[in-house]
């Protein structure tokens, strides 16, 4: 009896366990299966992979169209648009701007689908310094600056970044602002305060030549040798020399380097690192000093304003493959990427507003200049993803903000594209950023371009899941943009180096404008480079 009882109990237990196992297993596998089955649609955008092929085709093709312009602007990024805008403003009408893509904008290009607009690159503009008259005037013309009160510009409230602006996920909690506060001890806090006091003290300070130590545009900064020396060392070396060791502070500064310069503390010049904090001194009558201007489509908003003003002078899908100087003119050859037809444009002047690394491919003779070495121009690849969500991400602590960053992540976090829109909505698009700073730019570029869409999708989703567990099931679509030569990086020695100065000098009838000539890739520099080139041309006269 007792044997039988034991046996049957055992049997009961066995069957029970087996039953539980089956149920559990089914649940488990169905979970995996469901996850596997849910394919998030999307694609890799941008990056004209067939350009090499097109170039070969272009060189063989016959010229079918001959055109003549006073001025040709090559490249429709912010520098090129700014140059064309200035030329038009100053009365030039016999003008054409050529851009390879379907839409102008370069790094500030934006996308739109299902009524949502979102950036594919640059997405904000800090309040300009009060002495940056050109930029203030531009903003006024664009209706972004509405007037002045007691000498301070008043901005359209809709375009000032709305509250809440920034939050950081640290130790499981979303805190306000990006400078880590949660869990920072007294020593760390004191060090963070010391750094910010120091850079605050640099703002507006003048060098031995009477110019500000750090300003925007960067070339207006003092050439005081004592400070220029900082360009010879890395930001990391400078920080350790000055006794900064706080983990939080170093993380934050490294984040800033990655975000603005596509570099790390170890690859960014100390001068550039300080420039980031000490050069911005913008004020407004109706916003805090450190405010930024932003739009759902990011700087695409500014690009669209340029486009509206210039659309009669713009020719897109136009691949310039040769710029050659003759005695009294410049010949620009361009391939229509759709019809595959080649046009030859005779110009009195050319403003080349593309990146310098293209010089060697496009300019047979003018590309070379005595002593100019373009190898020190280092371009960092970037990845940007626009993620369409059915539900707004939340989290513990501060509510969803414009800029959302996770402490310790190697991405740059995400911004909420519809943050500036009025009205409540449940769906949203978030724009995720990552600068590929780990290895050498060329290696990272190659690796980034060889990865498949699914691999990139997984990278983005994993990073987002770290911030928002379970977000995968809210993703309706995820598109990725690989910026191979995303932006110029101010490595030590580059900003004060001779090559940067030489590269900006005109070669015959060809002038140059691009942020790589400044060494930092920001809207203000692109705008200023464009204006400079346009003014050079106008000064020389169109002959």
């Amino acid at each position: 009896m007792s044997e039988r009882k034991k046996f049957s109990r055992k049997k009961f237990l066995k069957w029970g366990l087996a039953g539980l196992g089956v149920v559990g297993g089914l649940t488990f596998f169905s979970g995996i299966f469901a996850d596997r089955k849910r394919i998030i649609p999307g694609e890799i955008m941008g990056g004209n992979a067939e350009i090499g092929h097109l170039l070969r085709e272009a060189i063989r093709a016959d010229v079918v169209e001959e055109l003549e312009y006073d001025i040709v602007v090559v490249g429709g990024g912010v520098a090129g648009l700014s140059a064309a805008w200035e030329l038009k403003r100053r009365g030039v009408r016999n003008l054409i701007l050529l851009d390879l893509d379907d839409k102008v904008g370069g790094n500030a290009v934006s996308g739109e689908s299902n009524g949502s607009r979102y950036p594919w690159g640059a997405h904000y503009l800090p309040l300009p310094n009060l002495d940056n008259r050109d930029l203030l005037n531009l903003l006024e013309e664009f209706g972004c600056l509405t007037g002045y009160q007691n000498g301070l510009p008043e901005y359209e409230e809709l375009y000032l970044c709305h509250a809440p602006q920034e939050r950081l996920l640290i130790h499981g909690l979303w805190q306000e602002g990006l400078v880590p506060k949660v869990g920072a001890g007294e020593v760390e806090q004191a060090e963070i305060a010391r750094f910010f006091d120091f850079v605050q003290g640099l703002k507006g300070r003048l060098g031995s030549d009477g110019k500000p130590l750090f300003t925007i545009p960067l070339d207006g900064s003092s050439s005081d040798a004592r400070w220029r020396l900082l360009d010879q060392m890395t930001f990391s070396d400078w920080l350790s020399k000055e006794g900064y060791a706080s983990r939080y502070l170093l993380w934050y500064l490294n984040y800033c380097c990655r975000d603005d310069y596509g570099g790390t503390l170890e690859t960014t010049s100390a001068w550039a690192g300080l420039h980031y904090f000490a050069s911005r001194n913008g004020l407004a009558a109706n916003a805090a000093p450190n405010s930024v201007l932003t739009w759902p489509e990011g700087n695409g908003w500014l690009v669209n304003r340029f486009y509206m003003a210039l659309k009669d002078f713009i020719r897109t899908r136009s691949l310039v493959f040769s710029i050659s100087e003759q005695s009294d003119q410049v010949l620009v050859r361009t391939l229509d990427t759709q019809t595959k037809e080649v046009a030859e444009i005779k110009a009195k002047k050319v403003i080349f507003a593309g990146p310098q690394f293209l010089r060697k491919y496009l300019m047979a003779k003018s590309g070379r200049k005595n002593g100019l070495d373009l190898s020190c121009f280092s371009y960092v690849p970037w990845v940007v993803a626009n993620v369409h969500l059915s539900k707004r991400p939340a989290g513990i602590g501060r509510p969803l903000s414009w800029d959302n960053v996770a402490y310790g992540s190697d991405s740059l976090g995400y911004i909420v594209a519809d943050h500036q829109l009025l009205g409540q909505r449940s769906e949203t698009v978030i724009t995720w950023y990552k600068a590929l700073t780990e290895g050498k730019p060329a290696d990272e570029r190659k690796a980034a371009q060889s990865r498949t869409y699914s691999e990139w999708q997984e990278t983005v989703v994993k990073d987002l899941e770290w911030m928002h567990p379970g977000i995968r099931s809210d993703i309706k679509r995820l598109d990725v943009w690989i910026w191979g030569h995303g932006m110029i990086r101010p490595e030590p020695g580059f900003i004060t180096g001779e090559d940067r100065r030489l590269a900006a000098e005109p070669v015959g009838r060809v002038h140059f404008a691009h942020t790589d000539l400044s060494g930092i890739s920001i809207f203000e520099e692109a705008f200023s480079q464009g204006l400079r080139a346009a003014r050079e041309v106008l000064e020389e006269g169109i002959v």
Binding site: L158, A163, N286, G423
Partner: protein
């Protein structure tokens, strides 16, 4: 003895069905949708009985004491089930889990008792007789229960006493069994003791049943939820106590029908009555139609546009008879057009100018509502006010949140309005504040629509006076890019609550 046992089968069967009926009634009265509730309860209960019967074969020894223990357990679980469910309904979120848990447990125990009893009796009866007798009494008991429950028990005793009474009957069966099987049980004392304790507990329950009932009714009646739904924007909950309705959005009280007249008269009339035959009025927020009801008192009104984000709210106050009675069918009045849109976006897309605007948004509890209290919003709104027109803004409690209240005032003044802040006492809200905003100076009206219960020229004279505990100064203007109001509001209300 045989008959005693058969009687107990009969009692057990009656009890079993009564518990099932109690659970079904309770579920449908608390959760609504009686067909679903009854059907699920019956299914779960019968299924649990099946499991009980299945398990019974693993009970091999000590059948009699086990039977007695099961009877005691059923008595306690079944007896107290309705008390437990009534009391906990208001407190626990997973109420349905508790309900089905209790039903399953009762069903399981009831399922155990008959098979065990049959095995106990198998030597006393011929098997043919045994099966026939047991099932006969079982079904007669079921009939009795199903007749007694609606005709006698529910009306006379109510749910709590009914289940307690049948709990007592179950325990009595156990006690009877202790005596009948006296010779066959070894450790009697323990069983007897348990039986006495169970009986005492149930009797105490019976005595205090009135108190349990009034306690549970007090808590449940106060908050009896008549509507609860989540829209994409908010959680909407409507409660009712007798004729008294309360509307909650995201847990915040929006009005209490008992005193909302004070709020809505104070919101609308001081500003609107000051207008010389107003024709067009815009209401922002206020999807309950109560402000519209007040506006419709002015015969000169030709057009009222109401913009409320949430169609669920406006539909509720348009289509529910009890609620459209409250707003006197304001939302279906021919002069009224309802737009479900975000107010900020709507204003930017429409160019109509109004003689008076009533701004009745929820308090600035988060950044998205906070946008509707900014300088940029009021600037937009200002372009929609006809020359000589005005507006009023509900501006939270100046007593609880003086900084928030005066921040709204500051923002309105920076927009270029002349403001007149005032406040009134609404019992369900406490001290509540409003701000009038005009291009010109507001002159207090000396005449109001007839039949107002609260607002009169004398009342308004008092409302504009602010004692020192409702004043705050030196506040920032609320802008899209700082949203200081949301911060003030959070700081002040969190302290208060």
């Amino acid at each position: 003895m045989k008959y005693l046992l058969l009687i107990s089968v009969f009692v057990i069967a009656t009890c079993g069905l009564v518990y099932e009926l109690v659970a079904g009634t309770l579920a449908s009265s608390l959760l609504g949708d009686s067909v679903t509730q009854f059907s699920i309860i019956i299914g779960v209960y019968l299924f649990s009985m099946g499991i009980g019967s299945f398990i019974s074969k693993y009970i091999r020894k000590h059948l009699i004491p086990t039977f007695i223990r099961i009877e005691l357990l059923i008595g306690l679980v079944g007896g107290f089930s309705s008390s437990i469910l009534f009391v906990l309904f208001e407190y626990i979120e997973a109420f349905q889990s508790l309900l089905y848990g209790l039903v399953t447990l009762t069903g399981l125990l009831v399922g155990l008792e008959i098979p065990i009893l049959m095995r106990i009796l198998k030597d006393q009866f011929d098997f043919r007789d045994l099966v026939s007798n047991i099932f006969t009494f079982d079904y007669i008991g079921a009939l009795l229960a199903s007749l007694l429950f609606p005709l006698l028990l529910m009306p006379r005793l109510g749910l709590i006493r009914t289940s307690l009474l049948f709990g007592i009957l179950n325990v009595l069966v156990a006690i009877a069994a202790v005596y009948v099987f006296d010779a066959e049980i070894r450790r009697k004392t323990m069983l007897r003791f348990s039986a006495v304790v169970s009986l005492t507990l149930l009797i105490i329950g019976m005595v205090f049943a009135g108190n349990i009932l009034s306690y549970s009714e007090k808590i449940s009646y106060q908050n009896s939820i008549v509507y609860a739904k989540s829209s994409p924007y908010q959680r909407i909950v409507l409660t009712r106590k007798g004729e008294r309705f309360r509307l909650f959005l995201n847990g915040n009280l929006q009005f209490d029908s008992q005193d909302e007249y004070r709020y809505h008269e104070a919101l609308v009339h001081p500003g609107l009555a000051a207008q010389d035959s107003p024709r067009k009025v815009l209401v922002l927020g206020g999807g309950d139609g109560l402000a519209v009801r007040e506006i419709l008192r002015y015969p000169s009104i030709e057009q009222i546009d109401l913009v409320d984000l949430d169609p669920l709210v406006t539909d509720l106050f348009t289509n529910r008879a009890s609620l459209s009675l409250l707003n006197q069918k304001a939302l279906t009045a021919p002069k009224v057009s309802v737009f479900n849109a975000d107010a900020f976006t709507w204003l930017r897309e429409n160019k109509t100018q109004y003689d008076f605007v009533v701004v009745d948004f929820p308090d600035p509890v988060n950044f998205s509502v906070g946008k509707l209290y900014t300088l940029r919003f009021y600037r937009e709104l200002k372009t929609h006010i006809a020359p000589g027109g005005g507006m009023v803004v509900q501006s939270t409690s100046p007593y609880v949140a003086p900084k928030s209240f005066w921040c709204v005032d500051q923002t309105l003044r920076e927009t270029g309005f002349r403001t007149v802040p005032y406040h009134c006492y609404v019992p369900s809200f406490g001290e509540w504040g409003f701000i009038l905003a005009h291009d010109q100076t507001w002159i207090p009206p000396d005449k109001y629509p007839e039949n107002l219960r609260f607002i009169s020229p004398e009342t308004v004279r008092q409302l504009v006076h602010f004692p020192p505990d409702m004043i705050a100064r030196g506040l920032e203007c609320n802008r899209l890019n700082n949203q200081v109001l949301v911060q003030y509001f959070e700081e002040e209300w969190s302290k208060y609550e």
